[in-house]
Structure formats: C-alpha cells, structure tokens
Amino acid sequence: MLLPDSRADRVVPPTGYTAHLTLFVSGAMAFLAVFALALSLASDRLAERWATELAGAATLRINAPADQMAAQTKAALDVLSQTPGVASARALTAEEQIALLSPWFGSDLPLDTLPVPQLIEIIEGEPGMDVAGLRLRLGAEAPGAVLDDHTRWRAPLIDAAMSLRRLGWISILLIGGATAAMITLAANASLAANAQIIEVLRLVGARDRFIAHAFVRRFTYRAFFGAVVGVLFGMIGVLLLPEASDEGGFLTGLGFRGLGWLLPALIPILGAAVAFLATWTAATRKLKELS
C-alpha cells in the first residue's frame, strides 16, 4: 500500500498548504520527541545509577575534636570489622575528602586547618547489616560517629528520577497524539479541497481504497521526511548539550548513551505510522461523507 506509485500519486495535486503544514508539524514534533526521549533515557540511567550505587553503601561520619579523631576512627573501624553484614569499611583519605568538598570550596582547600569530620565508607554485604544495632555499638565505642545509610534521601531521588522518566514518556505520547490530531486536520482539509478530484475519480470507477491510498501515501511520506529532518536537528541539539560531569550534577548528561543513539531513528518510522493511521481514518470517514 505504501509502495510509491508515481502515476497514481499524481492524481492528487502535489501543492497546497497542507503539504507544508504536515512537513512542519512532523518535523517540529520529531524535534521535541528527540528531547523527550533523551530526557526519559537519561532519567532512567540516573534512577538506575542512584539505585545501584547508593544501595548497599553507607557512610560513617566521625565528629570529634582533633586530638580524638584518630582514636575514634580506629574504634569505629574496629566495630565495623566485627559487625556482621559489613563487607568492607575504610576511612577516606585526605585527598578523597578534598575531592568531595572541592566542588563547593575549591580544590586548594586547607583540610588540615578545618574541623572537617572523618568519613568512613561502608560497603554492605549480604544479607545486610543491622543498622540499629550498629548505631548502639558505635555510640558506645565512638561517641562522635554518625551513621548515614542513605535511605533518607535515596528514595526521594529515585522517585524524582522515575517521575522525570514518566514525564518523558508521557511527553512522547502527547507528541504522538498532537501529531495525529494535526495530520488528521491537514488530511481533512486536503480531502475537502480536493472534493472535485475525488468526484472525478469516482466517476471513472475509482474505489475508495484507491483514492484513500493516494492521500495516505502522500501524508505518510511527508510525515516521514519531516520527522527525519526534525530528528536530525534534534540530534544536533542533543549533541550540543553539555557532557555529563560531576560539576554539572544531574542536569548534564541528558544525551544518549551507546545503543540509545539508535532510538531516535525510530521516531520517523513511528511518525509515519501515526500519519498513516491518522490519514487513513480521516480519508475513510471523509470519503463516506462525500458519497
């Protein structure tokens, strides 16, 4: 049905504002769809990263006077080494602590002159540790130790990322719906403008299927080519977005990764499918009205 038939396609005049409208709408919608897709995929990656990187990890913070810091750190590490469910525990080096603080205070931070707490990274093993019991033991052995198992802020972050991903997919659905609506309007306008041509085609024995195909092919191809252009511009836009970086946090890195770069190639195909269905429905209805 969609195979080009140059002679049959010529029965509908090639010009008209509906041609430009379809090209523009499908191009603009494909452009937006690229960004919505990028947002969805990036949110997905973000949620997964937060879920996997933060799950099974905890941080112990030792707030103690400088002269007690080393002793309390050692005591805390001893407690951790004897705690079931703790796979490993290590105190962060001064360089690692500077690296963590440098985004806020700069890289030339004089850590030794500041009352910065000592951080201990804890990796949980299976089946996991008893957080409440560990807190009690740490309170006895290292009074300045504060255990943070990340659950307090991990869940809302993952929820936020999942919401962003949902919004991205809803945007793609809305873009598809809006494209279908606009193409339906354009197809109806084109069918109405070509009512006399339809009458002549019927006069010479054309079936509705033949007439509908001439319009459907035209709108499907226009939507496809418009979407190809829109996707190309969208991809250029995504390429120009800043690269993911620690400094940029989660607002950067909204582009595609790996095989994700192939997904926008589906947009023109889906756009053409939407145009096909929209025009076919509009043509079938309009031809029934015109009979």
Binding site: R7, P13, E199, A206, R207, D208, F210, L287
Partner: protein, 232 residues
C-alpha cells in the same frame, strides 16, 4: 445493431425527489444492449438527473433501477465503483483533472482499475488516434479547445470498453462541424456494440443522426420520459 438480451439499463417506476420537489416521477425505461438513444427536453427538464441515476451518481427515491444486471440501490461503494467502469460517461464540462496531461486524464480509468502501464500505453495510442488527439497527448486540459476536450472526454469514457456510453450535452460547447465529428464517433461506438444514450437539447444533432443510426428519441416532459413523435 444488437437489441437482444436483458436491458443494460432498466428503470422501473423510478422517481427522484430532491428537497421535496419531484424531479422525475414514475419513469420506466429500458436500454437494450447495442441500442442508440437520444434523451431530449428543455433545460431543467431532468435530463442530467436521469443520466446521473443511470450511472449511480444519484439513487432513486423510489422504484427499481438496474444497471448491468445489478440493482444500484443494493450496491455498496466498492460495487458501485466497479459498475461505473462498465458505464462510460461524457459530461458537458468534461471534468478533467487540470494538473494532469490529456493522456493521463484519458488513462485515469485504466489507472484506477489497476491496468498495467504497458496495457495503458497500447490502449492509449489506439484511442488517441481514434479521437484524433495523438499530437495533443501532453497538453494540459486548459490548453485544449472545446472540441478537443469533448473528444478527450469521450476517449476517457470508452477506454475501459464499457457496456454503455452516457453523454450529457456532449456537443453543447462545440461548433456544428465538431458536433458532427463527435456524433460519428458515438455512432461508431454503437456499431461496435455499445449502448449509447445522449442527452441533448440540440434537435439538429438528432436529425443529423437519423441518417447514420437507428436511434430512439426519448423526451422528458412533465417529469416523465416518453418516446418522441415524428415531429422532430
């Protein structure tokens, strides 16, 4: 002329009403295969309406209309399309697609019926020569004279070799010589076995035809069709 067999088009007590006004009332008419008919009457008498009923552009309000052995009231749109391939129609205004060349316009019935391009080319060359438009096949309809348009419309009407040719005022926009040329083409078609029905108010055309073909002349009067007398 072959007058055997079931009528190609048969109207039994057909009436057609539009907006509360009866345009045709209780019309009965049989067009036998291979017959030649003129349909005459004053403007507005209902000649075009009757032709439209014959090719299914209008459906009877009451009565039964059979075309090519099919009750048109019972046909769906696809079946109606197939029926129209068996009924060639020539309109006074020709109804061409102005963005297509003459050859493409004439080939439209072949195209919509899915005939191959090679078959189209063979049929086209023969037909264009028959109507004397071989040299004009690449012209666009607005570039054609009235006579050329009418001959092209006739070519389009017969390219699928229909059973019946209906012509609505085919000589309305052409001079006497061209009207005679068109008449000869229609008579030739009749001699090939086609049923021909020409709606016209041009009585001189009917008189001229009498020497070439055995034609029945029907007159629409008072919303009904009667066989015309010898006073034509």
């Amino acid at each position: 002329m072959n007058n055997l067999g079931a009528p190609v088009i048969e109207l039994e007590n057909v009436s057609y009403t539009y907006g509360g006004d009866a345009l045709l009332s209780d019309v009965s008419l049989h067009l036998q295969p291979g017959s030649f008919h003129f349909l005459t009457g004053p403007s507005g008498a209902g000649k075009t309406t009757l032709l439209k009923l014959c090719y299914g552009a209008l459906l009877p309000t009451s009565g039964r209309l059979t075309a090519c052995d099919q009750n048109v009231a019972e046909l769906d749109r696809d079946q109606m399309a197939l029926l129209r391939r068996r009924i060639g129609v020539v309109h006074q205004d020709c109804r061409f697609l102005d963005h297509l060349t003459l050859a493409e316009n004439i080939a439209l019935p072949l195209m919509v019926s899915g005939k191959g391009e090679k078959a189209q080319k063979e049929d086209m060359d023969e037909l264009l020569n028959w109507v004397g438009l071989g040299a004009r096949q690449d012209a666009l309809p607005p570039e054609l004279s009235g006579g050329e348009r009418q001959r092209a419309a006739l070519a389009r009407a017969v390219i699928l070799s229909p059973d019946v040719v209906l012509a609505d005022e085919p000589t309305g926009n052409v001079d006497w010589d061209m009207s005679q040329r068109l008449l000869r083409l229609l008579v030739e078609l009749n001699k090939m076995g086609k049923t021909v029905l020409i709606a016209t108010h041009d009585l001189s055309l009917i008189r001229a035809a009498k020497s070439q073909v055995q034609a029945r002349v029907l007159r629409i009067s008072h919303r009904n069709v009667q066989l015309a007398g010898a006073d034509l």
